[in-house]
Homo-oligomer: 165 residues x 2
DNA sequence: TTCCAATCGTTTGGATCCGAACAGTAATCC
DNA sequence: GGATTACTGTTCGGATCCAAACGATTGGAA
């Protein structure tokens, strides 16, 4: 059992290392925790729920977005999922090859392409999502309602602040 | 201006879409916010602070880890940064090619390799980190101390819960 | 009408990332 | 002490990811 560094130990070491500089430790620790949490949650959901169905995290997010919004233009999907347009092209190609989504070129504006969940894709989402959500529920299970609400609200603020500039 | 979907609109649409299923909406919204926030913050810091110095997010995290802990075995660095061993090999190669880190094979156990910040790397970190932290501070600036503390604590709990199983 | 700037999705090149397979080294078992 | 097991960092193939360059299309300006 190697002695790995816990989050708390890392924070302590950080403080000692740069003690002489006028830094905002609270901000640093908060964002380090943010990054680690997102990584851990993503990894956990990917390995335990998505991988058995041969789905990628990004691929799942695209399917989920199409499930919620029925049909969307690719530019909006990319922005919603948080990936670049170029990345979406590749992901969509992979999903389309498995008949999970359909590509529907717009007739009004021939530059645009809409994506839509196929019947197979819809079926897959209705099978997977309850399981996915059950795992989500378990992950946040150690937080009480007040903590969860405050955290969610704070995270939303971070999104707005980061994207504002 | 295309009408993109905000986080709140997405949550509302989600609720309507899967209303008939017994789901944990609070958990779903919390983790969606978590993922979006991590992505937004990472993108903002990468574009505004790291890119001008030609540094990758992952590369910066490795440098930062070595800065805090002086020297580390690669397995611990990978675990600390949250990437696989194979990924670290590539990142370390890139950083070593720019003379930002040094590879130091262990004499006791010849399987092990230690990484260490080079003088150039140390200089770079002392230049970049104050700027990095200033941006971090601005990102969390819209949260009061209580919110920030609750959020950080909740995120730590998520890390532990996710990695426990 | 005729440019021309804006915007779409795609392609390209390079870096990142993972899981699995791998060779080398260390530790353990019998 | 010799064989097995465990663990290290590396390599490999395939998918993801981004920024930038690109061709196609649109719509407004001259």
């Amino acid at each position: 059992m190697p002695d790995r560094h816990t989050l708390a130990e890392t924070e302590q070491a950080t403080r000692e290392r740069v003690q002489h500089l006028p830094l905002d430790f609270a901000a640093s620790h908060a964002l380090l925790s943010l990054y680690r949490a997102a990584n851990a949650v993503r990894g956990h959901l990917t390995n335990n729920v998505l991988r058995p169905h041969d789905l990628t995290w990004t691929g799942f997010l695209v399917l989920w977005t199409l499930w919620i919004w029925d049909s969307m233009e690719t530019r909006d999907i990319a922005e919603s999922v948080g990936i670049s347009k170029g990345t979406l092209t590749g992901v969509a190609k992979t999903l389309a090859a498995r008949d999970l989504i359909e590509r529907i070129p717009s007739t009004e504006d021939r530059r645009l392409v809409n994506l839509k969940l196929s019947p197979t894709g819809l079926e897959l989402m209705e099978e997977i999502y309850p399981e996915f959500n059950k795992t989500e529920s378990r992950i946040v299970g150690d937080l009480d309602a007040r903590q969860l609400e405050t955290m969610t609200s704070a995270l939303r603020t971070l999104v707005e602040t980061s994207e504002r500039d």
